[in-house]
Symmetry: C2
């Protein structure tokens, strides 16, 4: 059996795990990113944590074929280079893949976290067995990863997949990216909460206060309230799904994918969002590609980060 190491790197937390060739997690752990350290020290720390995890796992190092590192920020996956990591600027310009790989003694590969999630779903999750897979993560922002003909498509400057910045209304809400009507402005975290509060401001009744998330209205709180029958929360999630479906319809017409895999926090609301999304897609997209495409929730859930990151190595070494 071959194994792959997955490093899910975040600005505050690092999750590391080992998966087998079927995508099952053998062992995993969480570590803290010490942002007071230098870039080189952070690299060494991550490698040390990984070494320790491998040691405790009992898996011979020779059975671990490679490591995949999923990271936020701007990066060059071909070189393995971090370019702009907003919260940990001392990593800017660091060759993360080479540095970590050298410490570990086996090849390491870097890609962005949304591509990692998409690869994880493609190899081991809801996208398994499909050729043209578009992964979306609905969280603070809205991200996307695109797999076409069984291969991750990265684009000219490795920024392909910015589905959150597909405009659904050229005269719509201003987006800090400079565009108007970006999908993310409507169904990213702030978009969902803003829409919720707008209805609330009109005096529509809601039981949201029983489900607040650390005292706040968040997509998670709205999803909890909706799951418990709060009508306004259901309405806002339905609307979220409809808006998602508008974007999926355009993507369906342009890319004719086989499957959309929807992940990220709010996607846990499942069919409360996905059913209206499917309905809107069918209504708006051309019949043939609309009938050819599925819209499904991500399957990997909490382990998406580790399995996805490890899948970056699987993509390089196996397929």
């Amino acid at each position: 059996m071959n194994y792959y190491l997955g490093i899910d790197f975040g600005g505050t937390e690092i999750k590391i795990g080992i998966i087998d060739e079927n995508g099952s997690i053998v062992t995993k752990d969480k570590y803290t990113t010490d942002t007071t350290k230098s870039g080189a020290e952070i690299v060494a720390h991550i490698a040390d944590c990984a070494q320790e995890l491998i040691g405790k796992s009992g898996i011979p190092k020779s059975a671990i074929k490679g490591a995949g590192i999923g990271s936020p920020g701007l990066l060059d996956p071909e070189k393995g280079l971090l370019k702009v990591v907003t919260n940990v600027p001392q990593l800017n310009g660091i060759n993360f893949a080479e540095g970590i790989g050298r410490h570990l003694g086996f090849p390491a590969f870097l890609d962005n976290d949304v591509n990692a999630m998409t690869l994880g779903e493609f190899f081991f999750g809801a996208g398994k067995g499909f050729k043209h897979v578009i992964g979306l993560t609905l969280g603070t922002g809205v991200g996307g990863g695109i797999i076409l003909d069984g291969k991750l498509y990265r684009g000219t400057s490795f920024t392909a997949g910015e589905i959150g910045h597909l405009s659904i209304d050229s005269n719509g809400l201003y987006c800090p990216c400079g565009n108007y009507g970006c999908l993310e402005r409507y169904i990213g975290k702030d978009g969902i909460v803003t829409r919720f509060k707008a209805y609330q401001g009109k005096g529509i009744e809601t039981g949201i206060n029983d489900y607040l998330d650390n005292g706040e209205i968040t997509p998670k709180a709205i999803a909890m309230a909706a799951a418990n029958g709060d009508k306004l929360s259901v309405e806002v999630l339905t609307e979220t799904g409809k808006i998602l479906g508008i974007a999926l319809a355009s993507l369906t017409n342009v890319l004719n994918p086989e499957i959309f895999v929807i992940g990220g926090g709010i996607a846990n609301a499942g069919d409360l969002i996905l059913e209206p999304a499917r309905h809107e897609l069918i209504k708006r997209a051309y019949t043939i590609p609309a009938q050819a495409v599925k819209v499904v929730p991500a399957a990997l859930k909490n382990d998406a980060g580790i399995v996805g990151s490890a899948s970056i190595a699987v993509a390089k070494l196996v397929r």
Copy 2:
């Protein structure tokens, strides 16, 4: 030197030509589609025309490596099958590639006309030397072809590239496809003319009457008037370019292409449309992919159909 036959099939006219391996047309001619004939007869007629053209060209048949057939309508490029040809329904269900290839004695390949145009520009035109090429044709409708990593991307059911049905305004103009705000509704032929007439209706002065196209206001007439300084015509083309740029910005964010190649009748207006499109793209898309992408006019012009169709064979046999 190797040669390729290009068959640009249309509902009323068939253009056939032979290109050499550099994409230069050696010989070409036009024929009529006799829509009173059966499907099998039409196939035989096209093959006969091609045979005759080959005979007159003096090129030995053994030097012709294959034929590419570009066709409108719904088709299956893998099987070579025509599925729905709106104006010539007796061709529905006919295996065009196999039929024509058998008559000719060398392999023939079928694809849609917009993919053909995009392949032509990719091999021999404005997209030469680029890896990620998106071709758009602005005509009665707005079509698209997508080449990623040097390969035509067709999608799950061979309908990828319907860029005319990317919605730029989810609450916008109703489109007969069932969606709202489709790009084609604004910058397809009817969209351009409707916008022109709306301004005219408000009493804005124009010299368009000196440039009418068979007595009518058409995009061609508007382009002519604009080229001669008619202010309203320039304004409408500028607006057309801006709307095009809105869609290109979304495509740039999602697909991070290297180059957009813009063809079709109205694209002959050149920078009157492309300059505002570039400006809008830069304004709206993310900086990195926006700076990485070019927006250029198609290079093949009148021969786009023949060279593009022949390029379908080049894609299959050479690259």
